[in-house]
């Protein structure tokens, strides 16, 4: 948020180390959370569905950013790790009657275990090779889940789950689902913010910036790379489990390579190495097709086309704009939306006396 730091003198170490050291920023952050909780008061059911999708995507994107943006390990397998969490939650709920608030961490934990396993190649290889190794993880996990009836629940690889309930309340409307997702999202956000400024987070950043130097100053690369994979996959697993409870269905088609690429696009457009950037990117990528439909429908209506005749065009246009945006951001603003937001903030910091 936009705030001015003048007149704030920290007298304690705790005060200086606080997440938001400036009072105004703290109130703004709290206010932001309150606003988030109050969104359902003004939004209709359709808009809530969009907000829910954004919240879900944010959780996954934050997880990926911890791995890619902070630790510098490229991963093309994020979708597969989400898939692991999703099926774990579905299996636990349908077969063992586990409530959703236990299914979430369980999905995260299993995904973290799988993610750590596929992170092992990162100890021997990096960069390009790692990108290809995680691509293999995506395919291997997808195939394994698809071809083991015990996991995927038969021919369609689809598991239907019952409506989740919380203390006897069925979570069956978009509004209630929002209150299922939002607390998880807020916890994920704050946890990530705190993680990346802790000892562990600094170790991640050291590994990213120069692994040899990190090793020399005593960072155990082996441990921290695996830890980054574990944390990132945990986030992915929780997001995947939330997908299951949100849609009441676990299906591999929601977590293909396209999904992994979309999450990568989110953090690149949002800003690598920024928690807020992950959320901005998630908002952007989730809103993109929705806004596009509105715009194209509007233009089509002007010229009198029926929607059916432009559906194909729309799908293709979406792909082109999606790919084009990735290219544009990478060539023009590699630090993403977060940097743009920072520029705006910096401009108004001393405004109107910015000289």
């Amino acid at each position: 948020m936009i705030n001015r730091e003048c007149g704030v003198y920290q007298t304690t170490y705790e005060g200086d180390m606080a997440l938001y050291p400036v009072p105004l920023a703290r109130y703004a952050a709290l206010g932001g959370v309150v606003v988030l909780f109050l969104i359902p008061l003004v939004a209709d059911s359709h808009q809530m569905a969009i907000v829910n999708l954004i919240a879900l995507a944010s959780i996954g994107a934050i997880g990926l950013n911890i791995l890619v943006g902070y630790t510098g390990q490229v991963s093309l397998g994020h979708g597969a790790f989400m898939m692991v969490g999703s099926y774990t939650a579905a299996i636990l709920t349908t077969r063992y009657g586990v409530p959703f608030w236990l299914g979430l961490p369980a999905g995260g934990a299993v995904a973290a275990a799988v993610g750590t396993f596929f992170g092992i190649p990162s100890l021997r290889i990096k960069g390009l090779y790692l990108a290809i190794a995680t691509l293999a993880a995506q395919f291997i996990i997808e195939w394994t889940i698809n071809h083991s009836p015990w996991i995927s629940g038969g021919a369609q690889s689809t598991i239907y789950t019952p409506t989740p309930t919380f203390l006897g309340w069925p979570i069956n409307t978009e509004y209630r689902r929002y209150y299922m997702i939002l607390p998880v999202g807020v916890i994920a956000y704050v946890a990530a913010l705190n993680l990346v400024r802790s000892r562990i987070g600094r170790a991640f950043i050291a590994v990213r910036d120069r692994d040899v130097a990190a090793q020399i100053i005593g960072v155990d690369i082996f441990r921290y790379k695996l830890l980054a994979f574990a944390v990132s996959s945990f986030y992915a697993g929780v997001a995947g489990a939330l997908w299951t409870y949100y849609l009441k269905i676990a299906n591999y088609e929601h977590f293909t390579l396209v999904t992994s690429v979309q999450y990568l696009a989110m953090i690149i457009i949002g800003g690598l190495g920024s928690v807020l950037g992950s959320v901005l990117g998630a908002v952007f990528i989730t809103m993109l097709p929705i806004v596009l439909v509105y715009v194209v429908e509007g233009v089509a209506a002007l010229f009198g086309f029926a929607y059916a005749s432009i559906a194909d065009f729309l799908a293709n246009l979406r792909l082109i704009i999606f790919g084009g945006l990735i290219i544009l951001f990478l060539t023009i603003e590699p630090e993403g939306l977060y940097r743009m937001w920072g520029n705006v903030k910096r401009y108004f910091r001393l405004w109107p006396f910015s000289y």
Partner: protein, 294 residues
């Protein structure tokens, strides 16, 4: 045993096509250190251009093929110039993501221009398979193998003998040294993209004939990664070797395992093989051992 040889021979022929696509990939990587995730999309695009000219606009093949190859070269130049050049010297993930973005644009563009329906890519060859010692060999596979072998021989010659080819090898070896002796490194970058486009164009014609041209043709690109890792990312002979091995292994594995698991082995086995290679010998069979221990 005939079943095994049947699978092996046809796998090797498919593998020769993988080798062709993989070669374009390795060329780009060697010369410009860019991992091209859009190689499959280049193949698809080539297939679309060829199929559209032959099936939709009814041009004779003798016109279509040169036009296709010409436009693929131009496309290669344009890509290098417009998209990849601003990214020289940037970190791995940016470059990877740009080519992924490129892949998306190609997918959307091809489907938008030519429609989502599958287009046929007819070639004047017979359809009934030849039978040699109980092994069925389909003519298109034979054409594929001959085409890619011809391409590979031509480029082996180009690299050994021509001035430009030697310059490309110099750039692949050491960019700064190449620049210091007066080689136009930018031109070489563009040229390697053009050659990769050319390889993809030939791949597009043959694959398009086998599978029909639609956006699924781009999935060929996903087979390139196991092939190049197996052979070594920076080795052209390695790409050929890797392509052949991947083709043979996936064909044999699919033949024997598919009945038990219900299909899909073809897409799975190459990646398992690749993970194993990455763990044991990350630089592949013929790659340079410059991977640092991390």
């Amino acid at each position: 045993m005939a079943f095994f040889f049947d699978l092996l021979v046809n796998g090797l022929m498919i593998g020769s096509m993988y080798a062709l696509v993989a070669m374009g990939f390795v060329l780009i990587y060697k010369a410009t250190s860019v991992i091209n995730f859009a190689q499959g999309e280049l193949v698809m695009f080539g297939g679309y251009i060829a199929a559209a000219m032959v099936s939709l606009y009814h041009l004779p093949l003798a016109v279509a093929v040169p036009v296709l190859l010409g436009s693929m070269v131009v496309l290669g130049f344009a890509l290098e110039r417009g998209v990849l050049r601003p990214l020289v010297g940037r970190n791995v993930i940016s470059v990877v993501m740009v080519t992924i973005g490129l892949a998306q644009v190609f997918q959307g563009l091809a489907a938008m221009v030519w429609g989502a329906a599958t287009i046929n890519m007819p070639l004047p060859i017979r359809l009934e398979p030849y039978i040699v010692w109980e092994v069925f060999i389909s003519p298109i596979n034979l054409v594929a193998a001959v085409a890619s072998a011809g391409f590979l021989v031509a480029f082996a010659y180009f690299f050994r003998k021509s001035r430009m080819g030697i310059a490309m090898r110099a750039v692949a070896n050491d960019q700064q040294a190449a620049m210091a002796v007066g080689i136009n490194v930018r031109l070489i970058f563009a040229l390697s993209w053009a050659i990769a486009g050319l390889a993809a164009g030939i791949g597009g014609i043959v694959w398009g004939n086998m599978l029909g041209v639609d956006t699924h043709l781009a999935l060929v690109g996903l087979k390139v990664f196991p092939a190049v890792i197996l052979g070594g990312l920076d080795s052209v002979p390695g790409a050929v070797l890797g392509g052949l091995i991947i083709g043979a292994v996936e064909s044999v594995a699919a033949g024997y395992v598919d009945p038990y698991v219900g299909g899909g082995t073809k897409d799975f086995v190459p990646y398992v093989l690749m993970i194993v290679v990455l763990m044991i010998r990350p630089y592949g069979f013929l790659g340079r051992e410059i991977i640092e221990r991390v």
